[in-house]
Structure formats: C-alpha cells, structure tokens
Amino acid sequence: MSYLLKNATLPNGSKTDLAIQDGHFVATSSLVKGHLVIDLAGKQVLPGLVDLHTHLREPGFEESETVATGSLSAVRGGFTAISAMANTSPVADTAGVVEQVYRLGQAAGLCDVFPIGAVTQGLNGQTLSEIGAMADSAARVRVFSDDGKCVFDPLIMRRALEYVKKFDGVIAQHAQEPLLTQDAQMNEGEMSAQLGLKGWPAVAEEAIIARDVLLAEHTKSRLHICHLTTAGGVEIIRWAKARGIQVTAEVTPHHLLLTDDYVKNYDPIFKVNPPLRLESDVLALRAGLADGTIDIVATDHAPHSSESKDCEWSVASFGMVGLETALSIVIKTMVETGAMNYEDVAQRLSITPARIARYENHGQPLEVGSVANLTVVDTAAKWVVDRDLMSTRSKNTPFHGFELPGVVTHTFCNGKLVFGE
C-alpha cells in the first residue's frame, strides 16, 4: 500500500506533502495509482519515535505483557522502534534468547523490536555474558544492559565497557549502588521520613554515575545512563560531556512530571525504580533535557499485573507502563512550557536514540529516500488517560484520569500503517 500524506507539518514547522511507497519516502510524482490519501492538516509529524528502554516481559512473564501486546502499545504511542530489556526469564544473555525476542517482534509485525543483551550472565553481576554472540546474532544487539540491576562491580563494568568497543556497542547502566539501597522503597527525603518507608538516596545513583563516567573516560568507551532522576546526576553528566567523555543519558516521562509527594497515600501505582524524587530534581531534569545534557527520553515501560500493585507498598512491584503516554507527557512538560519545540522532540525521541543504538532505519530525516518511519500527532487535541482502554496488557499507569495533550493519530513503520486509519 502506498500513501499520500497531505498538509503535514514537519518538525521545523514547514508544511509539505509526504509520499510513502515500498517502505520509503518517495517523490509524490512516483506514487502509483491506488494510493491512499490521508489529510494531515493541523497535525504534527515526527520521525517515528524510538524507545531505548522497554520491558516486554517475554519470555517468562507473559501475564504482564508479551512482545505482541507491547508492540501494539508502542505503535499506539507513536513508537516505530522499541528496545526489549534483558531481564526476562530466561535472561536475554545468549544469542538464542535475543533471537527469540527478535523473531517475536517480527511476527507481531507492528514496530521494530530490538533486543537488548544482558551485560552479565543471568544478571549475576559477576561474569560477562556472551556479548559477541549476541552482537553477531540475527538480533544484531548493540545495546547491553543489566537494567533492573546495577553492574555494581567496578571491575566488571570496566571490562564490559572495554569489550563492547569491538562491536561498536554501548553499555546502558542502571545506576543504583546496591549496598546503599537494600530494601529501599522510595526516594530518601522528608516524605520517606514522614511515611516510614525506607529511603533510596540520590547519592546511590550519583555515586555510580560518577564512577562510570570516569571509567568510560579511562577506557575511551561509550556509556549510556538509564533513567536519570536527580539534579546531581544531571550536573555530573554535564561535567563529563564537557570533558569529552562519550556518555549519553535518558530520562523517563514520569520523572519529568511526578514527585515523591504522590506517594503520600501509599498507592503503589507510584512505586518505581529509580523512585520519584523532588520538585527540584524534576526541574533540573527538564532543564537538562532542554539543553541536551540529557540526550533522550526513554519510557522504561514496566508492566506489572494487578496483584503486584493492588497491595501494601512494601510488597508491591516497582514500575510503571509508559509507551502510550510518553509523547503526551513530553508535550505537556517540555513543549507547552516552551522549553522545547518539535525539532527538539524529534531529536530527543527519535533521531538521537536511533543514533545511540545504531538503529539505522530509524531517526532518518523526513525526506525522499529515507525509510518511512513516521509518527503523526494531533497536538491540539486532549485526551483523558483511561487505564482500561490502553493496549498494554497491564494497567499500572500513574496517569489514569490525567488529562494530557497530544493524540497520536497515525504510526507508519517501515512504510506500513501500523496504527490509525
């Protein structure tokens, strides 16, 4: 099927018509007869969104999500590429598992699913996994992460940073010093003192980031910091980049909006790792994203079944779903506040993540010849989040009932209309 998209507004604000055929953008004159015309007047187009941090739970935890349901959720949120984190069961630490996830993504046929490989075997933090085998597999893994857990042993982290240079890979670190955060439940601060919940101090995140940027400098490797949550962390990244260290960082949509005040009633829907922090952290993260210190937004989409959230705080699971609300939250917190425009949005949510992970078909310029990965959003529309209407199999969104701006109307992946009509 070919498409003529009329009156599209590009990220730079100019208006144009776009033609899609055989998976690519083509000149409108090359369109064959029988193409579909879609009028995008008043709508903003972006290069297809790319998520570097998605938990698809398959294999092993299919009651919460599968590659198929996660893909559906992704394309509804405007994502054409998602990255499946390795903390599945079995862990994605071999070519076999990553190829399985890759094939499941192909079978779902919606967005591109790129598996992330574990840094250590079984996420044990002690022995490197077969990084080379995963890089050479059909899944062509380039991003390696033990997310869920921190690569806390500095020697292992050093070896991993050095080793992936062979494959032009990047280590994505979940920064959490385990000995400072044993059984931690929420941000350590006045709220945790009041609520009697064990604190997760900012320093446990910042100490690992500081260590790892220095390691990355020493080994001349690429480093990516997952879900940055503290003002101090932003400062460290800024300092590191000024020194020429090859570090990139991501922030989640929920950390751009929510603070630990939301925990006041002990509702585990707000329980997440790393935790919600202070207003001052939220503001620093927004400023960091706006000025590019933080390179990308990544969802850390973490589905959990209702039993693990419908209980007392201390036994609840950590995590929030986010694929379907991510773009809206970025519009609300960054575009509507004037901190970013849509060119910046295209950079942070598509072009830069694709570059970090080496997803060549994504984040391409919206011009003739590029692979047609495209997101269309009605930025003037508003919607109320209803967890029961979402495509993700799990309902753990903290935004249920929130009114948000921006409705994704169409998503094209590799030239195919995978969401919208």
């Binding site: 350590e188 601060g189 006045e190 709220m191 945790s192 003192a193 009041q194 609520l195 009697g196 919940l197 604190g199 101090p201 009633n265 002990y266 509702d267 039993e307 419908d310 209980c311 007392e312 705080w313 201390s314 036994v315």
Partner: protein, 315 residues
C-alpha cells in the same frame, strides 16, 4: 472522623476530645460502670498481621467494655501467614460484617490501602503500621503525660518531652512527635545520628546526640526499644556502646528533675535502653501507660463508632 490512620487525621480539638473522653471513661470504668452498652451490636475485628499481645488485648478489652463483639484475626496460623493478600482478607472481613478493623501490620501504609481502596466499608483504626505510625499509643502517652504533669490544663502547652532511641524505625516516635507538638509540648529527640531519619531537620523538634545534657531539662522522658535486629545492621558499634551513651540508668534517673516521669511503650529490653532500676523506679509510669491504653482505646472506639455511620463506604 471516619478512620484513625495517622495523628494527622486529628485536629487539636479532636485530640483533646479523645483525652477528655478517656478521662471520663477511666473514671466510670474504675468506679461505677465497668461495662457500657454503647457499641452493642457492632463487630470489631482485630487484624493483627504482626505479633502483639499487649496492644491487641488492650483493644479487645476496650471493645468489650463497650459491649462490642470482637473477632481476633492474628497472623500465625491464619490465611494471612499463608500468603493471602491484604485485599482478600479485607473483603472476607467485609463479607463477615465488620464495622471496624483494628489493624496492625508490618508494612507502612497498609491501613491506608484498606481505607482508600474501599475493599471494606468499616472504620479503619491503625494499631501500628511498619515504621510509620501508632496513633493510639501516642494518644495514651499524651494522656499519661497530661494526667501527671498537666496541672489541670486540657493540653500540654509548655511541657518538655524527650524521646530517646531508634527514632528512624519507630512508629511510636513519629506519632508522638505529631501529637505532642500538636498539643503544645516541646519535643527533643535524642539518638545517635545513624538512628535519625534523613529529613528530620524539617520536623518541629529539637535534635540532640547528648542524652546527659537533655535529661535535667525535661518533664517526661520516653525511652524507645532498640530492636535486636538493628545490631546487625551497623547503626551503632555494639549494644554496650549504645547503652553507655543512650541508655537510661540509675545515674541518669537521679539527674532527672524531681517531678519528671519515665515512660516506655513496651516491650522493654531491660539492660539495653533502660535498666531494671529505671523501669521500676518511683517515677516510672510504664505500667500505668498500659491501663491508660484501655481507656484511650475505648474513647477512640466510641468516637469513631458510637454515632451515625459516616458516608463513604462501599456501594
């Protein structure tokens, strides 16, 4: 007032009303009327997911003196210990017709989940949740202080209270800080720095690491229990060092001002945070705190359940 989950649920006037009601109930319970018909026909469930003989019996005695029916649901041997969720337990209690649930639970915030989720429609009374709060303990502590030191005043204005020990993990400390300051007392927390919560600087209290300098200046000193588990979590080097700096021993008892009282929520580690002499001294009101607990809990049950049912239950 539909639930009692935290001292923050009470205004100053409501807290004083509880103390005044407890006074009157204590007097009539001691003397003329041992049993009152006020809560006849009401069912109160004690949901104790954490061991506690003292508090559970106290609530049970309070409920029975008001002629309520009491059902005890304790952790051991119950479906809770076999992994039944809080939600399922609550819905079972609702089906059994509980008008109120008195809940003690190891997870901070568990009573809030019961109250918020509307898994059941009754009143929820927090009898101690994790390291968060223990409102009825603070109320009986305030009642005891008022009785001995209040000089007829209705609140605690001007009285100086020290709370000593593991503040970080103490729900008794949190509730007491909230209530004592609400009633006008001046509170000093004494603990090693490792046992004070991050963020305690924003509490309306004075902090001290030096027990000996605080002792001569207080009207009431409340010793908190040091749990054995904390020994292994490196909050202080040894039990000996803790006792030396923060234990209430004979010398410290003698340094207290003449009319001060010694308090402890129990159970005590005699020899660790408090010596036997201190616990048994003439200034100790520790045993009386226990009997005051029944009157205070009667007052709480009466004020929560004695009137018209409050809107807001399950439909």
């Amino acid at each position: 007032m539909k639930h009692l989950l935290s001292i923050n649920d009470l205004s100053r006037d409501e807290a004083i009303l509880i103390l005044d009601t407890a006074s009157e109930l204590a007097r009539i319970s001691d003397g003329p009327m041992k049993k009152l018909p006020t809560l006849r026909g009401r069912t109160i469930v004690n949901l104790f997911a954490e061991d506690s003989t003292r508090t559970r019996i106290s609530f049970e005695a309070a409920a029975k003196r008001l002629s309520a029916d009491v059902i005890n649901f304790s952790a051991k041997g119950s479906s809770l210990s076999k992994g039944e969720s809080l939600k399922d337990t609550a819905q079972t209690l609702q089906a059994m017709g509980a008008d109120a649930v008195v809940i003690r639970h190891p997870a901070s915030g568990a009573p809030f989940r019961l109250a918020d989720n509307q898994w059941m429609s009754g009143a929820v009374i927090n009898a101690g949740d994790g390291t968060h709060e223990h409102p009825s303990q603070a109320l009986l502590d305030a009642y005891t202080i008022r009785k001995h030191l209040g000089k007829g005043a209705r609140d605690l204005t001007g009285l100086r209270v020290a709370i000593v020990g593991d503040i970080l993990h103490s729900r008794v400390a949190r509730s007491n800080v909230l209530l004592l300051t609400k009633l006008g007392a001046h509170v000093t927390l004494v603990a090693p720095p490792t046992l004070l919560p991050f963020g305690v600087d924003s509490w309306p209290v004075t902090i001290s690491y030096d027990l000996d300098s605080v002792i001569p200046q207080v009207d009431a000193i409340m010793m908190l229990r040091i749990q054995q588990e904390r020994m292994h979590e490196i909050f202080f080097p040894s039990a000996r060092e803790y006792s030396r700096y923060f234990g209430l021993n004979r010398d410290r008892v003698n340094a207290l001002s003449p009319n001060s009282i010694i308090m402890h929520p129990g159970p005590m580690n005699r020899g660790l945070e408090i010596t036997a002499e201190a616990a048994d001294s003439a200034r100790s009101v520790i045993v009386e705190q226990v009997s005051n607990g029944v009157s205070v809990r009667m007052a709480i049950l009466y004020l929560l359940l004695g009137g018209a049912p409050i809107e807001g239950g399950i439909n």
